[in-house]
């Protein structure tokens, strides 16, 4: 057990036990009714994100709906356009279906990127302590001090925003949240006997860090990744609503921006509701599932139930 390599049996065994644990956790989370609703919503959302553009009856931007030669402006739901049309004669159902994808991309990649980066920084910082810790924590202080949305707006005002660029900006500003929490968890875990005994048996820093410490903070890591998905969706939608989204795609945030800017928000409830409900339902679901998960992961909440 002195070597730094893992034989394949041990690896498989670990993976299997981790997988079993994940399955067990999921079934436990889904006992919570709110989390169940959230989970179903998220599955539907991912489906829309993957296949939405293909099931949309029209192209969200290029197709202009016409009736008897004139453009169908601000048509109420019904007939040709099931959810009505925008003031530019575009089909709202198609925009809604296609708009799920950019929202999903920003949320998923922004969230996972934030989770992974924050996890690694927190793990390194908490494990090594000392100077490394001081440096990394002052760096997180700095990203806390720089106001996120204003800075993002400034940056996006002089580069052409694209979905991927926005995702990158989100990760740069959001990683600090998981990093701080993971760091404080790691600091308690690394003092425990099994970590010390691993070191005493000659395990290197990398091995100790990733095989002995990391699995014990993985739960919190997943929790904050889930929350980061929610934050990213909110931030992406906010940027799009302020007019700093990717101008080439239709996203839910951008739909809201257009209905707001055009002034049609006064009358065209059919244009407002689909994207507003879409964003609200998805972010709520993320947090409902996350909260049910937190009840399991956060050891402080495990007091006796009466």
């Amino acid at each position: 057990m002195a070597g730094s390599t893992l034989d394949s049996d041990t690896a498989k065994d670990r993976l299997r036990s981790e997988f079993g644990r994940a399955k067990h956790t999921l079934s436990y989370v889904l006992k919570d009714n709110a989390a169940k609703v959230g989970f179903v919503t998220l599955v539907a959302f991912v489906f829309l994100g993957l296949f939405g553009p293909y099931i949309a009856p029209y192209h969200p931007i290029e197709d202009t709906l016409r009736q008897g030669g004139s453009m169908m402006r601000l048509q109420e739901p019904g007939g040709k356009a099931l959810f009505g049309t925008t003031s530019f004669g575009k089909d709202i159902l198609s925009q809604f279906l296609a708009g799920a994808r950019p929202t999903l991309i920003v949320g998923l990649f922004g969230g996972v990127g934030t989770g992974v980066l924050g996890f690694l920084v927190g793990l390194t910082s908490g494990y090594f302590g000392g100077r490394v810790d001081e440096l990394l924590m002052r760096l997180t202080d700095l990203t806390f001090a720089l106001p996120f949305l204003p800075m993002a707006l400034v940056i996006l005002s002089f580069v052409t925003p694209s979905v991927w660029l926005i995702t990158a900006v989100l990760v740069v500003f959001l990683w600090k949240m998981p990093a701080r929490v993971i760091r404080s968890e790691v600091m308690t875990v690394k003092e425990r006997t099994f970590v010390k005994s691993a070191r005493a048996r000659g395990a290197g820093h990398m091995r100790t860090m990733f095989l002995h410490v990391a699995p014990n903070v993985l739960g919190i890591g997943f929790l904050y990744t889930a929350y980061a998905v929610g934050w990213s969706i909110v931030a992406g939608a906010s940027l799009a609503f302020l007019g700093f989204g990717d101008p080439t795609t239709t996203s839910w945030g951008r739909m809201l921006q257009q209905v707001f800017r055009s002034g049609a928000i006064r009358v065209a409830w059919w244009w407002v509701l689909p994207p507003a409900i879409g964003i609200g339902a998805v972010t709520t679901s993320v947090f409902l599932v996350g909260r049910a998960f937190e009840e399991i992961v956060n050891p402080d909440l495990q007091t006796e139930q009466e």
Partner: protein
């Protein structure tokens, strides 16, 4: 480490952070491909000499390090320069906008901190109850949904749908009040105030509720409460004791939230056309009015740093178990 040393160290860190943050802002703004005046030459509205004069007026012709030093000096003396698009001092734009934001957010924050903390403590005490479950789900919804979406819902229901409340701005177009008192103390203002205030209260309620609920849950099994029960205190009296012990995270969180005040609800200000600092920033960015952008971002950063420092100090002062050892 004594409290004095702790305070000194924290303050020094905050000062250095402020300096780094404003430097980052400076660099970011200087990265912009062009200054707003080059556009004027291209459009033919100004000659090259005129532009050179204007650039000299704004100090843009000096070497970059001189610009940087002047920028730092001006920021810390709160001299924000002249707005490029409105031809008046940036301070005249920013200060009233800050006031408007504070008038909206501070009362909302205080109200939600008190109401949802009490509700959260009650929820945590009655863990598993109907009240706990439904209050958590309700506030999670409002916490999760972006604040501008909540705002839009309120807008289309109460302004456009029912026509009860105005949708736009802080006062009706005809009102022309003079001074802060007249501006903020009128029925007209109140009508404009209700919707954005409600959206803010709903948005912030979730965090305070969960924090209060979690810290009461954490304390529920503890021995000092068993002692109180053994003494024969009623349920509510016990909750009072547990609640007092849960105040610390709430106080710190309140300080942190106050620091985020100016940057927290930019989108909400846009939805309700509330003339606050967030909306001023968005407009300044769209108009390429960099002195105003600089000032707004600086104020937002400074607020966070100062309130973080306050939270740290308050924590160290209030928590008797913290001997300020690990900072």
């Amino acid at each position: 480490m004594s409290f004095r040393r702790f305070l000194l160290k924290r303050t020094a860190i905050a000062a250095v952070l402020t300096l780094i943050a404003v430097s980052v802002i400076f660099v970011t703004l200087r990265l912009l491909p062009s200054d707003p005046f080059s556009g004027l030459v291209a459009s033919g509205s100004l000659t090259a000499e005129q532009v050179a004069r204007v650039r000299a007026m704004y100090g843009l012709d000096e070497p970059i390090y001189v610009q940087y030093l002047k920028y730092i000096q001006n920021l810390f003396t709160f001299q924000f320069g002249i707005s490029l698009t409105q031809q008046r001092p940036v301070g005249e734009i920013i200060v009233p906008a800050m006031m408007n934001t504070m008038v909206l957010l501070l009362p909302a924050l205080v109200v939600t901190a008190i109401v949802s903390s009490i509700a959260g403590m009650y929820a945590g005490w009655n863990r598993g109850s109907w009240f706990e479950q439904s209050s958590i789900v309700a506030t999670t919804v409002f916490r999760a949904v972006p604040i501008f979406v909540t705002g839009i819902f309120l807008l289309i229901i109460f302004s456009y749908g029912l026509g009860w409340l105005p949708a736009f701005g802080m006062r009706s177009p005809l009102a022309n009040p003079d001074g802060y008192v007249e501006t903020y103390l009128s029925v007209d203002f109140l009508k404009h105030y209700i919707l954005p205030f409600t959206a803010t209260v709903l948005f912030y309620s979730g965090d305070f509720l969960m924090l209060a609920r979690n810290s009461v849950v954490e304390r529920k099994g503890s021995e000092f409460l068993m002692l109180h029960r053994a003494k024969g205190l009623s349920d509510m009296e016990q909750l009072g004791r547990a609640g007092r012990n849960s105040l610390l995270p709430l106080v710190t969180y309140f300080a942190l939230r106050t620091g985020m005040l100016f940057q927290g609800v930019i989108t909400l200000e846009v939805v309700f056309a509330w003339p606050g600092i967030g909306r001023a920033l968005v407009q300044a960015i769209l108009n390429q009015d960099y002195p105003t952008v600089q000032a707004a971002v600086f104020i937002m950063a400074l607020a966070v740093i100062v309130m973080n420092l306050t939270a740290d100090v308050a924590y160290a002062k209030l928590d008797p178990t913290v001997e300020a050892g690990d900072v």
